[in-house]
């Protein structure tokens, strides 16, 4: 087991290196006209010549030295946890980002829990009563959840309660320490909508996996022993059916936590998604690079977590 974990860690390293190279190089693909615009933005007061402004920008973006020198310098800073500073206000990115992590985690957890709460019962029911009216209804709901754009539902949630009852969801960030109830309401609304979108795909996986497990011989044996439906489903089938669901949950988690760009934008929540979106709007390339790096690392480690959980849950998967 320990050897496996070590090997699995070792396998991450080449991918992680490739990720850092891609993120590092992406700054060099900024088109020339954007560079010119950035230069004029730096040089608003015309205190510098074009060449001076350009040189200053190249230092900011790390374009002034040979590529491998820059990469090494950048990498060794990143490894020490220093993601650089914003191009616009010189604030350290690591510090700013850390303040946003709890907000994103709170939102992501709401979404993940809602997704599971919706998907598990409906998915299981759909599989157990395959090809009945209930199954069709469940599957239709699942596809509907996947099809309705989240940003539209969120827009409706803001507009219609306001028209009907003059009530608008909170639009200023409320810290939990200040007003726990207000904070909960504020995160529950977008979180539940995100979770509903997420539940569609999840529901389908739960159903497929349940169907597969229900056809296995040991389930027939369980029925033959005269066990009740509840015991067969919950104790015998569900446990095995849920193993692949762990994969989906683990892979979805980074997107729900750090990728909630649209949600945080609509509900004005200062999380990681919002941070990235603002950076893209202001073309703050160091922040964009840092966010991409963080996201990719998060995904890699979630995948690792999924693989480890998988082996732990399913004795058929052996660590070799």
């Amino acid at each position: 087991m320990r050897a496996y974990v070590a090997r699995r860690f070792a396998l991450i390293i080449p991918t992680l290196l490739l990720v850092t190279i891609i993120v590092f190089l992406s700054v060099r693909f900024i088109p020339g006209d954007v560079i010119d615009q950035l230069i004029s933005e730096i040089n608003v007061e015309n205190t510098m010549s074009y060449e001076e402004a350009r040189a200053q920008l190249e230092v900011r973006l790390g374009l002034d030295k040979p590529i491998y020198v820059q990469y090494w310098k950048w990498l060794s800073r990143v490894v020490r946890g220093d993601l650089g500073t914003s191009m616009r206000n010189d604030r350290p990115i690591t510090e700013d980002l850390l303040a946003k992590v709890p907000i994103s985690i709170e939102l992501g957890l709401w979404a993940m829990i809602t997704g599971l709460v919706i998907a598990l019962p409906i998915g299981i029911y759909s599989a157990v009563r395959q090809d009945t009216l209930g199954d069709y209804a469940g599957r239709t709901v699942a596809i509907l959840m996947m099809s309705v754009p989240g940003f539209w539902i969120m827009t409706m949630v803001i507009i219609f309660p306001a028209i009907w009852w003059g009530w608008v969801p909170p639009m200023e960030y409320i810290p939990f320490t200040k007003d726990p109830l207000g904070n909960t309401i504020q995160f529950a609304i977008p979180g539940v909508i995100m979770g509903a979108s997420f539940s569609g795909g999840l529901m389908r996986i739960v159903r497929t996996m349940m169907l597969e497990v229900l056809r296995q011989d040991y389930i027939r044996t369980a029925w033959a022993k005269g066990l009740s439906e509840r015991v067969v489903i919950v104790r015998h089938a569900l446990k095995n059916a849920l193993i692949p669901v762990v994969t989906i949950v683990g892979m979805g988690l980074p997107g729900l936590i750090a990728g909630a760009v649209v949600t945080e934008q609509i509900f004005n929540l200062p999380g990681m998604g919002r941070y990235l979106f603002d950076a893209i709007n202001r073309r703050d390339y160091p922040i964009i690079s840092a966010m991409n790096l963080i996201m990719a690392t998060l995904v890699l480690f979630c995948n690792l977590g999924v693989d480890l959980t998988y082996g732990w849950l399913d004795p058929r998967v052996q660590y070799q």
Partner: protein, 317 residues
């Protein structure tokens, strides 16, 4: 004699068969009512998109500044927006944009899946290892974040958006599906036979492998359509997709329009309804087609799960 008889048998049978696509459609209509409904929805929006200039009462840029924020009426079927533009016409032109995105993006992605996944699976070995590490890396970046970053670098516009969404989709996870299917087909005796009589790699790939992965490609194409439209509308909603005045359904829900939605809620309803309807239709159609075409879902108890567990084992070892 016996030989010619066995040859003649299947040949006669072949003649009765409809062309592949027609046969698929016939089976869809016969066996999958929900998939057919989805197909009809998609077809209707396609027709609307193609005929937009003839169906729309006004051009999508036509402004009547005396009729700003009008509620639905006989003159403006779905009302007007904050610039006095007819929403009904803009929705119809929006269908055109969504349909272009819905066709072009998965087309690019699917062709790339065919080449990258196909080469990776067919040749195996070092090439496979190299390509798959690269795919791994691309898959590390979550969809929306990567799309936003790339669009922020290349700039807005329909062509840019289609290329970015198509190429990013093509580099991502879909390769894996094509690759695993190609690996499966490669082990068939007929491929070995073709190798034995000295067929070139190209010939084997085109004549023996391509026809067999067609079903998978059709499924991944249909499944990709809805996702592409949702991605486009999300990016347009965030202001990084198709720039105004082009009427992207996602874009119609964002920007300046949001300020007026409390007074004119009809502005917020219709683009979303159309998006949901089209994507719903595409997903239903894709589901139906997958049930018909995907060999992994045909017969055999629990085969799908076992192969998945095996794949996991391969990854582990």
């Amino acid at each position: 004699m016996t030989e010619s008889a066995t040859v003649a048998g299947p040949v006669r049978k072949e003649k009765k068969r409809l062309p592949f696509l027609l046969e698929v459609i016939a089976r869809l209509v016969r066996e999958k009512p929900l998939g057919t409904v989805g197909g009809v929805i998609v077809l209707i929006f396609f027709v609307v998109g193609i005929l937009a200039p003839w169906l729309a009462p006004y051009h999508y840029t036509y402004q009547d500044l005396n009729a700003v924020l009008q509620a639905p009426s006989s003159r403006f079927l779905l009302g007007t927006d904050n610039l006095g533009r007819d929403l009904f016409s803009r929705i119809i032109y929006g269908a055109r944009i969504s349909m272009i995105v819905g066709l072009a993006v998965p087309a690019i992605s699917t062709v790339m899946h065919l080449f990258i996944g196909g080469v990776s699976g067919y040749f195996g070995g070092k090439i496979d290892l190299l390509i798959q590490r690269f795919v791994d890396t691309v898959m590390c970046f979550p969809g929306l974040v990567l799309m936003l970053t790339v669009v922020a670098i290349v700039g807005p516009g329909l062509t840019q958006l289609v290329l970015v969404l198509g190429i990013l989709g093509g580099l991502g996870g879909g390769n894996r599906v094509t690759r695993s299917v190609v690996i499966g087909i490669k082990q068939n005796v007929y491929v070995e036979a073709a190798k034995a009589i000295g067929s070139s790699h190209w010939r084997i790939m085109v004549k023996h492998i391509l026809p067999n992965i067609m079903p998978i490609l059709i499924v991944s194409f249909t499944m990709g359509m809805g996702g592409a439209i949702l991605a486009e509308s999300t990016l347009s909603f965030l202001g990084f997709g198709i720039p105004p005045p082009f009427p992207s359904w996602g874009g119609m829900l964002s920007g300046q329009a949001r300020r007026y939605m409390l007074d004119a809620p009809w502005m917020a309803i219709w683009p979303g309804v159309c998006l949901a309807l089209v994507v719903y239709g595409m997903n239903m159609l894709g589901d139906g087609l997958r049930d018909i075409l995907d060999p992994r879902l045909r017969g055999g108890l629990g085969r799908y799960g076992n192969s998945k567990a095996k794949k996991k084992l391969n990854v582990v070892s």
